[in-house]
């Protein structure tokens, strides 16, 4: 169970990496599209077709961010109930909270770009929380005891 906890934590961290990469990939592609004479407006964007190849980055960001990562975070929390990682439930809960904040900021970023900026900052926080939680699952459950103490227990 501990390794499941650890894997999930790092998967979430990986998810954040995918989010960052896909968004910049899409925006870079948009810049190139415009540079080469393309036009990007709401009617074109909503026409559901591939305006330029990198537009898939927006879709990956949306699906990964709103479905996959939240699902992983939820499973992560449930696994933490069973995993016996020191502080495991607390860290999983923090990760889930950060995911909720992240999705909320992302949605509000559509109305006010400042929330988009905060979305970028919170991503780093979420990444850190996920990695920290994963590392906690590496630690042994108890601190090493001195040889005399372990002798006493064996008796």
């Amino acid at each position: 169970m501990k390794s499941v906890y650890r894997v999930l934590a790092y998967l979430i961290a990986l998810g954040v990496v995918v989010q960052a990469a896909s968004m910049v990939y899409a925006i870079a592609g948009l810049g190139i599209w415009v540079d080469e004479g393309g036009t990007f407006d709401k009617a074109a964007f909503e026409s559901d077709e591939t305006l330029f190849p990198e537009v898939v980055g927006f879709m990956i960001h949306g699906m990964n961010g709103m479905m996959l990562i939240p699902l992983l975070a939820l499973i992560f929390l449930i696994v933490s109930f069973f995993a016996k990682v020191p502080g495991g439930v607390k860290w999983a809960a923090l990760v889930l909270l950060a995911v909720v904040v992240q999705v909320t900021l992302g949605i509000f970023g559509h109305e006010n770009a400042i929330f988009g900026a905060l979305h970028g900052v919170n991503a780093l926080l979420l990444f850190s929380l996920a990695v920290t939680a994963g590392m906690r699952a590496n630690r042994p459950a108890t601190t090493p005891v001195s040889s005399s103490e372990s002798e006493r227990e064996l008796v």
Partner: protein
């Protein structure tokens, strides 16, 4: 803490998390087949509740049998069956690969071999008869006459006003072209995909007398494969017009988002919006007109006397060039301001009195996480409810209806009401002061609210939905229903999927 206790607690915590989620998931699942009459909750808008037995029954499996117990079936709401057609059109729908006028290959759908399909033209008062043959569209097809207030049985909404026309079948639409102006037609079966992929065309109704414009040009704007086209052609589309002539350009936005339109090389006037003429339109210079998804705008351009032409810019990525090949008008930058239709033109008394509405509805668009037919996500809400628990706006024939549309969802929604035209009374609390702004497709931006009013003078069951068709497929759909009328049709995965 003992490990057994810990295990029990862990299981309880898991159950506490998963139980509500499972419950929400289960209750969101749609039945295999359902009638719009059983959907959501009846909203009477403060007016009298429907007295007849037939009509809205609420989402209750037991009352399904009551459907059709009383009230007139909308199947009877057709045009005069005896009258001979003045305009006869035969449309054959196919699923196939085709070539646009620009030469680009598209894998989509055609009507009579083309997309956009043939333009249907009629004079005011003529009876139009369109025979639709589904030759090879496996998804099924209907035709909806966007902006025309036709009899309900001719409205072309699969699962509401008819069954979708299956492959090999055919359906005949008949309606009188009472409204003059620019319209379009498109399928309303799996519309979010098949309209995008080509099942659409333009429709123009001209007045009985002569047309005042010297040149009349229709610009059906549609994106194919990510490329904007005008009547299927990419880039610059030429229209011949001599110096001194007036040109009426009918712009139709068939895509899912609003499009700014401006004119390079000449001032212009907005003659009509969504088919309704503007009263005393003034000259526009250096401003754009925002044509919303599904909406139309007719512009009048007087060709410059010096022989230089003009360009009607469709969002900047395509243009209708007026004046033939000698034209060398540079593309003007997109203006930063838009013509405000709330104050454009001169006021004139509307043809009904909106001051004492019999019904007053709210259509507040929001967004929240939840399950839509079992799918998790962030979904649209109407008055706080997700599909299918949306309001069914109940009216009686003759009612003056007021509706407040408010958008708090974070995205723009082009709202389209079937079968009726609505007068915009105010936007964000500011009253309309220009020519009566009458719409069937209204661009409601995020944070905006509109008060509109219309007369319930066309009985039946009518869709009132976002014309960003993927949004409609995600449940941003409500209906307007007349007391005393029922529909026998059902929406279901097996045949009818209007969105």
């Amino acid at each position: 803490m003992s490990s057994r206790l810990r295990l029990v607690l862990a299981c309880l915590a898991t159950a506490a998390l998963l139980a509500p989620l499972t419950w929400f998931w289960t209750t969101s699942l749609l039945p295999e087949e359902y009638s719009v009459m059983d959907m959501g909750y009846a909203d009477y808008g403060g007016g009298p509740a429907a007295e007849l037995q037939g009509g809205h029954t609420g989402m209750d499996p037991g009352t399904h049998a009551e459907m059709g117990a009383g009230g007139t079936s909308i199947v009877a709401l057709t045009a005069d069956q005896e009258r001979r057609a003045d305009v006869k059109v035969h449309l054959r729908a196919e699923k196939r690969e085709f070539e646009l006028a620009s030469g680009r290959e598209v894998d989509g759908y055609t009507l009579n071999g083309d997309s956009p399909g043939p333009v249907i033209r009629a004079k005011q008062g003529q009876l139009v008869e369109v025979r639709l043959d589904n030759e090879s569209v496996p998804e099924g097809i209907t035709l909806h006459w966007h902006g025309l207030d036709v009899p309900n049985a001719m409205d072309g909404v699969a699962g509401v006003t008819q069954d979708a026309v299956l492959e090999g079948d055919s359906f005949t639409y008949r309606f009188v072209a009472e409204q003059v102006g620019t319209y379009w037609y498109h399928t309303h079966q799996v519309s979010h995909e098949l309209v995008r992929r080509g099942l659409l065309g333009g429709l123009v109704v001209t007045p009985r007398g002569d047309d005042p414009a010297d040149v009349d040009a229709l610009a059906v704007v549609h994106h194919y494969g990510g490329h904007r086209t005008i009547n299927g052609d990419e880039g610059d589309v030429s229209v011949a017009a001599a110096s001194g002539e007036t040109v009426r350009v009918r712009v139709v936005n068939t895509d899912n988002g609003p499009m700014p339109v401006w004119v390079s090389g000449s001032p212009f006037r907005v003659l009509a919006v969504d088919g309704t003429e503007v009263n005393e339109p003034t000259m526009v210079n250096g401003e754009s007109v925002l044509v919303t998804a599904g909406g139309r705008a007719d512009l009048e351009i007087a060709m410059p006397d010096d022989g230089s032409g003009a360009r009607v810019e469709m969002g900047g990525s395509a243009a209708m060039v007026l004046g033939g090949s000698r034209t060398d008008v540079p593309q003007a930058d997109a203006p930063e301001t838009f013509v405000d239709l709330l104050s454009y033109g001169s006021p004139t008394p509307p043809d009904f009195d909106p001051s004492n509405p019999a019904r007053s509805f709210e259509y507040v668009i929001g967004r929240r996480p939840g399950f839509l037919d079992g799918r998790p996500g962030l979904w649209w809400t109407i008055n706080g409810h997700m599909y299918p628990n949306v309001p069914m706006y109940m009216v009686s024939e003759g009612d003056v209806v007021k509706m407040r549309i408010e958008n708090n969802s974070g995205e723009v929604h082009p709202m389209h009401l079937h079968g009726h035209h609505a007068l915009v009374l105010s936007r964000d609390g500011v009253e309309a002061t220009g020519s009566p702004w009458v719409v069937d497709s209204l661009n409601v931006a995020d944070g905006e609210s509109y008060d509109i009013a219309f007369v319930a003078d066309n009985p039946g069951v009518w869709m009132d939905h976002c014309h960003n068709l993927p949004h409609a497929a995600e449940g941003l759909v409500a209906h307007l229903m007349y007391a005393g009328y029922t529909t026998p049709y059902m929406i279901g995965r097996s045949q009818n999927e209007p969105e």
